[in-house]
Symmetry: C2
Subunit: 339 residues, 2 copies
């Protein structure tokens, strides 16, 4: 899921998203609640109408953004009080409020409000937190009224296998349309992340979508898909683009590198997106160096297309029963190349 | 002519330019000479190949940019020495060099190197300058070898009618494929500009294109067209877009204005561009407030389309013999509206 933080995937139109094959986009409740406001988005016909995208939209609950700002937030059983990044104004997110806000935004998939504990939290903190998260999840489900909107629960529990199991049990017991694994990709090593996910994912109901929150690098996507994950969101493709980097099967290319200055070949010879078929690496490198809007746009277009294509191919390989071997070869090539 | 300073019209692809109906774009020799360098652009197949635009391109000589930087440049009969805005390195533009550079860029129309005198220059300065500009123009013509590239001369002379006539006579005597009126839109009043143009334009050869350098506001375009001008370049539509302003038949709209926050109507109901047909003013205002790339892109798309459409309509009105009345009504509506 490409990330459209503020109701737009950086530099891309809904038409661009359709052209690169994106099947769903993610919107950030935290940002949209603060600006332009959920009431205004509802008046505009929901996020679909507001941003002109008629495909599926998943909204997060805003919890992740709130909990990232550790200094200015205060957690209670009721919810979490925080300061706006825009103007410092104080707000309270409760399970009921974030559910209502997501109903106003009109997304197709809403997420429960969960706590994503700080990276340095100890076992006791995690245990208390996952139980509160489960109580909040039950309140979200009770508050949820929009019938054409799915609601997903979120499993927490840090890196503790038994706490993950406990959180998963409590969440599945409430019952949701899909389940997310949260609280990973928050500073732990890749090995710790994959180990924890490897323990958690198989216990999730097989018939419901499994969403891993916060992975976007191509190798990471294939690694979590191997563990049974169906959905993931990633700012990485769009963020890399703004920093002048492109994803290719041979690794990440930094277009600020001097060797691209007079490289008249295509960005990624195996890609058929506009950036790769109309322009040369030399032109894209020029746009990146000059910080031109068109450079951001074309690299974003390519990186999102690349990620969507990767997922599409992974799906084909799974269906053909070849995913394991294909994925190992793909990662090996990706990690061997680059520049 | 939308301006593609550094080989890109801010945020728009060549496909976008074709879609909005742009028939020609302008490239800046000064910037492209310094970055990425004319040799590199030549290697990429000229500016057409480099930027992926197969329509006509006009390049300026770079003189205007050099002469804008009064503190760091030194003029001699040979040419003008200046410092790069990028790294302070010293360069010399001679008529021969700017002609060769434009041949390397491969534009369809090249301009002679002229001096655009400072706004506070006196009559003596203008007289000396216009004669040197004519000598430089002759050297440009002598150096010009590319047969499929037109070369335009430039008339100077400040606000002095007799000096304009003198400059025009010297330039036409050399003989060019088209003629530009330079040295206006540099700080004088709109009345002074139009008076001087009204004296100069009718003396230009009727069978050659007349190019007025540096007008881009809609009313100004119609005013110079009324005086017989055929071509003009304008950063205004793209610059306004980056500042959150949109051109409409009822004047300029500043989308940061609070009243657009919940205005769900189209940007310009009479326009059929993507910005006006897919999105609301409220959404565009949100993008502008959040400084989102997509906001810059959509407003640029609209403003360029608006300007191109205006010129196309002006052409139809001229052909139908109704230009005068139509133009007066158009300007009156434009100047009466806005926000």
């Amino acid at each position: 899921m490409p990330v459209g933080t503020k109701g737009t995937v950086k530099g891309l139109t809904p038409g661009d998203l359709r052209n690169v094959g994106a099947g769903i986009v993610l919107g950030n409740t935290y940002h949209l609640y603060l600006r332009p406001g959920a009431d205004l988005v509802r008046e505009a016909g929901g996020l679909h109408g507001f941003m002109g995208w008629d495909g599926p939209i998943l909204t997060d609950s805003g919890g992740y953004q709130v909990f990232s700002l550790a200094e200015t937030r205060h957690i209670s059983e009721e919810g979490v009080e925080f300061a706006s990044v825009y103007d410092g104004s104080r707000h309270v997110f409760t399970p009921e409020l974030t559910t209502r806000v997501q109903e106003e935004l009109g997304s197709d998939v809403a997420m429960v409000l969960d706590e994503c504990p700080p990276a340095n939290a100890d076992r006791t903190y995690h245990e208390d937190s996952l139980r509160r998260t489960a109580r909040w999840a039950a309140r979200c489900k009770a508050a949820h009224e929009k019938e054409d909107q799915a609601l997903f629960g979120i499993v927490q529990g840090g890196l503790y296998p038994d706490l993950r199991e406990q959180s998963l049990g409590l969440t599945v017991e409430i019952g949701f349309d899909g389940y997310a694994v949260g609280g990973l990709s928050v500073g732990e090593s890749r090995e710790e992340m994959l180990e924890t996910l490897a323990l958690t994912a198989p216990m999730l109901p097989a018939e419901k979508p499994r969403y891993f929150m916060g992975i976007g690098d191509p190798a990471g996507i294939l690694q979590v898909v191997a563990l049974g994950v169906d959905m993931f969101d990633c700012v990485l493709p769009t963020r890399l683009a703004r920093h002048g980097a492109a994803l290719t099967p041979d690794g990440r290319l930094n277009l600020k590198n001097a060797r691209f200055r007079n490289d008249f070949g295509p960005l990624d010879p195996e890609c058929s997106c506009e950036a790769c078929t109309v322009y040369s690496r030399a032109y894209l490198a020029h746009l990146v160096r000059e910080n031109e809007l068109l450079g951001h746009r074309l690299l974003t277009l390519h990186n999102v297309r690349f990620s969507v294509d990767l997922c599409r191919q992974a799906r084909r390989e799974i269906e053909a029963g070849r995913f394991g071997a294909w994925s190992r070869a793909w990662i090996s090539r990706y990690q061997g190349g680059g520049g």
